[in-house]
């Protein structure tokens, strides 16, 4: 477990020293969300209706941008190889990198979402559900995304190929995540959606690190 903490601390330290990378992804989140009213029209009722979907899609796309950085730098400078040769289980170290990715790319989105939600005139209760859903869903995005990031290490067409692989797998998270808010608006219980998101999170925690580790070993061969 100490090695896990070391990896998280290291990646957080690296992110702090390259703040511009991190902040750009967050600004991307804000910009993309703002594009929709500009493209569709600023009628309040319409915005309120599309808000959960728009915010979730913007969150997906911003997470995608950050995925590129998860393993690429370590792969390029040889530190990923060293992790594979560590006596500590690689899956543990990979888990640490995924956790750090979420802390740097996912958690800030959760914090920013209420602000965007206000721009779309969502009510307080809806904002609360949205934040909860994102809190459960963004780790899933990091987990699933890590598999794609590892598979496309050093491969031609990296970024676009990564999106092609990962976005279809993100769809259930998107559906349950935005569905939670829509259900609440429609007067139904959002709990079912949130539980399903929780289930996805548990599944992701169990399977993703192994798949990602296997993909990394293949990439460094």
């Amino acid at each position: 477990m100490k090695a896990f903490a070391f990896v998280v601390r290291r990646d957080l330290l690296l992110a702090m020293r390259r703040k511009s990378d991190v902040l750009s992804a967050l600004f991307f989140f804000v910009i993309v969300s703002s594009l929709f009213p500009l493209g569709i029209g600023a009628e309040t009722a319409l915005l309120r209706k599309i808000a959960p979907g728009v915010i979730w899609v913007a969150a997906l796309l911003s997470t995608m941008l950050g995925l590129q950085r998860m393993f690429a730098a370590d792969h390029a400078d040889g530190t990923l190889e060293q992790m594979a040769l560590s006596p500590e289980p690689l899956a543990l170290l990979v888990g640490g990198k995924i956790a750090a990715h979420w802390l740097v790319c996912g958690l800030p989105l959760v914090a920013l979402a209420p602000l965007i939600g206000l721009q779309f005139d969502l009510s307080g209760a809806e904002l609360g559900i949205l934040v909860l859903a994102l809190l459960l869903g963004t780790p899933v995005l990091s987990l699933i995304g890590s598999v794609g990031a590892a598979l496309t290490l050093g491969v031609r067409g990296g970024g676009v190929l990564l999106s092609l692989l990962v976005l279809p797998l993100y769809i259930p998270t998107l559906i349950f995540g935005s569905g939670a808010v829509y259900a609440h608006t429609a007067g139904q219980d959002a709990g079912a959606h949130l539980s399903l998101l929780g289930a996805l999170l548990v599944l992701g925690l169990f399977f993703a690190p192994w798949a990602t580790t296997a993909a990394i070993r293949i990439a460094i061969e």
């Binding site: 491969v155 092609l164 976005l167 279809p168 259930p172 559906i175 829509y182 399977f207 798949a211 993909a215």
Partner: protein, 249 residues
Amino acid sequence: MSNSIIHWFKFASPASFYPLAGRMIPWFWLLAAAFGLSGLWLSFFVAPTDAVQGDGYRIIFVHVPASWMSMFIYLVMAAWAGLGLVFNTRLSSMMAQALAPTGALMAFLSLWTGSFWGKPMWGTWWIWDARLTSELILLFLYVGFIALQASIDDPRRADKAGAILALVGSVNVPIIYFSVKWWNTLHQGSTVSLTKAPAMAHTMLLGMLLMALCFWMYAIAVALQRVRAIILERESHAEWVRELKEVLA
């Protein structure tokens, strides 16, 4: 018993599988033709006209079998890829590579025929119902698999990476299907659905079954042809390839 074990592993080498596949292919084309002709005859001439949808519904005899096959092929492809990953056999991975385009074609065919069904029935070229949407996502999964293998230069790495993607995909397919059905009911979209086919007359079911078998035999025939081409390409440096009739010609 030990005899048959040796027998099977002999065909795990591309060199021995190549001629075996060559001999099997014509039989599968024959079976595909036989099932196809009987299936089409049933669907056009024997199955009764539907009370509600008229004769236009007959496209489900292509649409539904194509959907079934697209799902089935994905699982078979993932299984072959998984075998190739676990046992490190090149031929298993080549089979997965050969199946992918056919699976993608089935998914596309399902979407295309679904669209043709929707237009005369409900006036739109596309309906966001559970089946069509899941089919669309399955097509994305196929395209992703093909794109990943195409982007990786080293064939062995492409095999293994593709295998992981296919296995992750197959775990996700039921989840995706479930979530799309959930999404459909939540948003109360169209109340009509392409999955609500007319009540099945005995002959209709038989027709779909025959067409499904036809597509299955077709898929095997085409996959075997494709895997032969892949074998030639990837084993081109080997002695036995250079001595083949078709290569010498």
